[in-house]
Symmetry: C2
Subunit: 306 residues, 2 copies
């Protein structure tokens, strides 16, 4: 029994001004058979086409904040999904004002969508904003010029793995396996108690993906983002632009690397690159100096969460 | 004295769903030293970068109608122009509701633009909507599901061309040349009247570009669009989709070709291609059968108006 697919595909890696062919922020999490979209800058639907992401499988969209480079592509994606015949609801997690922005644009075009949009307003809330069969999603405030949220995608604790050979040895009937996977012991016909540990092995470890942009390095770090398998953190600027990063509520390479280290993250993707930088070489080199296991966000590339 | 540059560069050629790498509607007219933008679908700013159009030289934007594939890129372009330091006003000609759509999006991001936006509401109006030193721009209603406008860009009548050699022969002082270019005769020192025709040759002919999308073939054809040097007309569908074109208020290849012929246009560009068509071969072949001097709208390609 292998793990489900859990990977992140970058659709946009640019900060506010798209430059050098780089698109504004957007990425897709593919988990098992469903897609989560995080941020949706202008042109996201074009990138979805280009990189052959199944837009019909996107059921949940998470918008970090209402600067345009993080949401201007959403209305276009919605109208295209409608033209493609979608009927399933789309769940949108975002700051509250987005609902009105989408509504006014649908209204002027006289467009009645064939599928419902469900808006979920992001607020300071320690509970999961989404709880599916396999995954909990949390939001948390980050430090930007306007209200802005990070997201954590955390696999639920998995069931113990039943060892068939052990089951055969102790005569475990199939009907008992579900409970044993949940941790129950097994009582044999002769009354002997077979401890769960003799029948199962530990579950695969739950995996965790954390997304932070746009933000200074955050000071209030929620426990649930610690030990992330994969962290996406913005590095709008090189470290020599430290003052500019502070003033504009962004982060530098060094700050992102130090933050990943403090989080005990296993690996880091950096993105949201300023239009100042044609080459990204210096950005990756500087970040690796603080956190070696770093990769650049490259559009179209997928990064496993493991 | 040559003619000023007058050309159209296609930035988007797709209908509502961007497909096969084709972007939604947008194009730039370059006239002398200024750029006019017509329609501004999602990703227009990305295409402007890609094809090295000077966005700082765009002073006028014309939006045909408020279906998203014709304006979703405008807010992104505006915020990028602001980040690039623009201070010159931007004149926007569009259906009235666009102003509110732009405002609400600027408001939520807390953005005060450093340059003014001047909105001009399109109405049924026989007068030019814009009258510059060199050009008059007219709008006219076309036939779509919601209010939609075509545009005509018509060079002003030019001055007669003064022939230096003739001027020298009759002793014309420099101070008289401006009036002679406007058609005046010249009175020599001895009282002889030198007819204007002896001093000048006919001006270059005024050129005309006409833009029509999205629309059925229009029935009320304004005189000022006749004899266009270049007509852009939508061909969303092949001719076998005649019924679908009628129902959705679009045009077929054959209709566009016939319309160009009835207009006595010199040449035709077809665009706004449905996502049904991966190859555009059948679209160009069918249109050429009615109007041979036709070209496909190819993104990044420029078409002279002459």
């Amino acid at each position: 029994v292998g793990n489900s697919v859990f990977k992140v595909t970058i659709l946009g890696s640019s900060s506010a001004i798209p430059a050098y062919g780089r698109f504004p922020s957007a990425q897709v999490i593919q988990y098992a058979n469903s897609n989560f979209l995080i941020d949706c800058g202008e042109g996201t639907q074009i990138q979805i086409n280009r990189y052959k992401i199944k837009s019909s499988k996107i059921r949940h969209v998470f918008i970090s904040h209402l600067h345009g480079d993080h949401y201007f592509g959403l209305i276009g994606l919605i109208t295209t999904l409608n033209l493609l015949g979608r009927i399933e609801p789309l769940e949108i997690f975002s700051p509250k004002a987005l609902k009105e922005i989408i509504r006014v644009q649908l209204d002027v075009s006289n467009l009645k969508l064939r599928f419902p949009l469900h808006f979920h307003s992001l607020e300071d809330n320690p509970n999961p904003i989404l709880d599916t069969r396999f995954m909990k999603v949390y939001s948390f405030p980050v430090e930007h010029r306007i209200a802005c949220w990070g997201f954590a995608f955390i696999e639920k604790e998995k069931e113990r793995r039943f060892v068939k050979e052990a089951g055969a040895r102790y005569g475990v009937p199939v009907s008992k396996i579900p409970n044993i996977k949940k941790g129950a012991d097994f009582v044999a016909k002769d009354g002997t108690i077979i401890k769960n540990r003799a029948l199962t092995i530990d579950p695969e470890k739950s995996r965790k993906y954390v997304y932070i942009t746009d933000s200074r390095p955050i000071k209030n770090v929620p426990d649930f983002i610690k030990d992330a398998n994969l962290l996406y953190h913005e590095t709008t600027f090189l470290k020599d632009m430290n003052n500019r990063a502070f003033e504009t509520f962004h982060s530098t390479t060094t700050q992102a690397g130090e933050f990943a280290k403090s989080l005990h993250a296993k690996s880091l993707i950096i993105g949201h690159f300023s239009a100042k930088y044609k080459s990204l070489d210096a950005l990756i080199l500087e970040t690796k100096a603080s956190f070696p296991n770093t990769e650049l966000a490259i559009e179209g590339k997928s990064y496993p969460v493991d």
